[in-house]
């Protein structure tokens, strides 16, 4: 039931029995993929909502907890993902134009980037595990917290509420070990951190599986990938993984407070 269409500049495509035209089929696949990505957006969206809510409820604890993350590793990972997104786009382009060798190169590079991302993530996670930042019974927090009050706060409070300005504040030593509950607020941050980045990493792993499969299929010239659509769809998915990280990086690593 399939027929081959030869388009001037693009790879041949096969038409499934339920479709009438190749355009209809392509558009269906793209719209279908986008609909799936919409579900993914809502999926991660719920986590972003949770992050925003808790951040607004516990601004200080989140501020302090996020300082424990390694901004530079995060930056590296963002760079890696953006690069992989570029190569993924290039891979789709070469596939469209039927440049098989180039497709393999770009696709391979994308997969390498994905592994690189996971490698950096591994370094980050292992450091966090070492410092017992993984939530649960073993969670610990050892960073000291600066508790020197700001002069501005002092002035403001004396106006707002409590009458007389306070005396002798600055003499007090700034050494405070937060107690159990305070620790939990940080645990909350790290819970969200691990759930969000972990889920993202899971998507990266799925991406690696998909892209690798495609790479092998193209390498062995399997008829399934005569068409550029599988690569295009995998590319869409990969770009989405990138988009999630585009939001995740500033909101989790960079900005502590609201």
């Amino acid at each position: 039931m399939s027929l081959e269409l030869q388009h001037p500049a693009v790879a041949p495509q096969r038409l499934s029995h339920q479709f009438e035209q190749i355009d209809q089929q392509n558009d269906s696949y793209i719209v279908g993929m986008w609909t799936f990505l919409v579900t993914e957006i809502m999926f991660f969206g719920a986590l972003f909502v949770a992050l925003t809510v808790y951040r607004s409820v516990y601004p200080d604890a989140f501020e302090q907890a996020h300082n424990a993350l390694n901004v530079w590793l995060g930056l590296t990972n963002t760079f890696i993902l953006l690069t992989s997104s570029f190569t993924a786009a290039m891979a789709v382009r070469s596939k469209m134009l039927g440049q098989r060798a180039l497709t393999l190169v770009f696709l391979g590079f994308t997969i390498l980037c994905a592994f690189g991302f996971l490698g950096v993530k591994y370094v980050e996670y292992s450091a966090e595990f070492r410092e017992h930042h993984f939530p649960g019974p073993n969670f610990q927090w050892s960073q000291t917290v600066s508790s020197a009050p700001a002069q501005g706060d002092l002035a403001a409070n004396s106006q707002v509420a409590l009458g007389a300005p306070k005396v002798g504040v600055n003499e007090f030593p700034a050494s405070y070990q937060p107690q159990q509950l305070e620790l939990h607020k940080r645990e909350l941050f790290f819970s969200l951190y691990f759930v969000m980045t972990g889920l993202h990493a899971f998507h990266v792993i799925i991406g690696i599986c998909t892209l690798s499969t495609l790479w092998l299929l193209i390498y062995f010239k399997h008829p399934v990938v005569d068409d550029y659509m599988p690569v295009e769809l995998a590319g869409l998915y990969w770009h989405f993984v990138d988009i999630v990280w585009i939001f995740l990086y500033p909101l989790v690593y960079l900005i502590g407070k609201q």
């Binding site: 269906s28 808790y54 939990h184 645990e187």
Partner: protein, 585 residues
Amino acid sequence: MSSIPLNPGAIGTGGRTRARENYLNIKHTVSSWLLTADHKRIAVLYMISISVMFLFGGVAAAGIRIALVRPHDTFFSSETYNKLFSAHGIIMVFFFLVPSIPATLGNFLLPIMIGARDLAFPRLNLLSWYLYMFGAVLVMGAIMFGGIDTGWTFYEPYSSVYSNTNVVAVIVGVFIAGFSSIATGINFLVTVHKMRAPGLTWFRLPLFVWAMYATSIIIVLGTPVVAITLLMVVLERVFGVCVFNPACGGDPILFEHLFWFYSHPAVYIMILPSMGIISEVIACFARKRIFGYEFVAFSSMAIALLGFLVWGHHMFVTGESMYSGMVFSLITFLIAVPSAIKVFNWSATLYKGNVWLTSPLIFAIGFILLFTIGGLTGLFLASLAVDVHLNMTYFVVAHFHYVMVGGAIFGYMAGLHFWWPKITGRMYPEGWAMLSAFIMFIGFNLTFFPQFILGFDGMPRRYHFYPPEFQMWNILSSAGSSVLAVGMVIPGIYFLWSLKYGAFAPNNPWGAKGLEWTIQSPPPSHNFDTVPIVTEDAYAYEAIYAAELAGDYSHVEAPIPYLSTTDKQVSVESPASPNSSEERK
């Protein structure tokens, strides 16, 4: 309706000839069923699976009603009782109501109604069924071996910290089933967008397709949210992360927010498809265009969209901010408007129709009545102050059973009867169907109406023991549930009976409009020999209407018992002018 020639399947009125090759008899091997990509076979697979799940859920419900006959029940322990109502809720909501109409009738009819050979992604459709089965097996296993006692709402922190039951297994099962319905939703959306037959514009779509489209939007936008929320409960239990646990600063109300962001629209996942079916059935048996087609279509979309803005009305008493309670209440009152539009338009469709009272129509009328009560009692719960008293009582239980059972299940039954000849190629016994419709209606009201009163009396839901003065209402309710059970067993029997002994169904037993009635019963595996070209609106019943008033019933191909002698009488007056679509504006 279209330019394609009719496929003469089983010719004549219920002829005894075996239908020619169709999707059912094209292959008989087990693998041809389990590896099929045919939307019709997948629909049948789904139909069998959800019927089994319905049976399980029904058994749990029976257990609940047995326990509640006495105020201090000793038949079950409280633990068992809690597991029963949790099993009932989880099975019925996630494994029956959500997939019921979309995955069965929707799967079967949507491509045919829009003139397509299949859904856009047939293999995804099959995957969806396997996901459903996997989730169902997991959940049933967890319920059989140990059970779960959180209720279907999985409220934190009970579900994450305190419950000692199989919460993880059940949530993983529900999670997987969620992806099954997402797959269905994506498939439907793309199919409706991209695969309509030439000439089938949006405003020529049958209202069932509109309803499926609206449902799919809710599925796609809502399900992921509850999936991730429940996943976090699992992570809390398994890894000890804390997201909602108040012991480490988490907010259980946030769980409720995210949970109801899906679970309120999920109510519309359950009821919108039924509304679509009712529109089809009413128009067909009144022999008229649906009154106010555009209003009915847009009200489906309005319900789908507004439905996402009212989730907070489940939380008026939980400690949600008073102000957001007021906003959610206001929007909830607004969502009553599209529902009212639908109910009145259906009723108005019957006006001056040539009404053929068949069992699908009786189920449909039952639906409208019960849904009206269910919808109006929803307003009690949307009223802030009244909800303070009624929330979490049996009033809520009664309300959503009126919508879910009276609505969704009556709609499903109407659709099942309406399309049964098309799906199986066999007619069911009409008398028994009417009888079961009446028994179900009476049993249903007897079961759930007392619960409204119980709720106002103050009996909280999920109570194993209750004060003795509530006993009489509970006995009434339990008695009603046995009547309801009888009403539900009868169709099970005659449907199975009809598969072997029913008369062969003609292509168009009801004389209905719609592409699905132009092909043979049961449909061939490729649906259409040539792509149909649509030239009329849906529900262009004018010609049939005029013919019937002139005494011509030749378009009705149903076997003899379906046509009474009075049907052959001729009406004296004929319509002045059947309104065309231009005049309607």
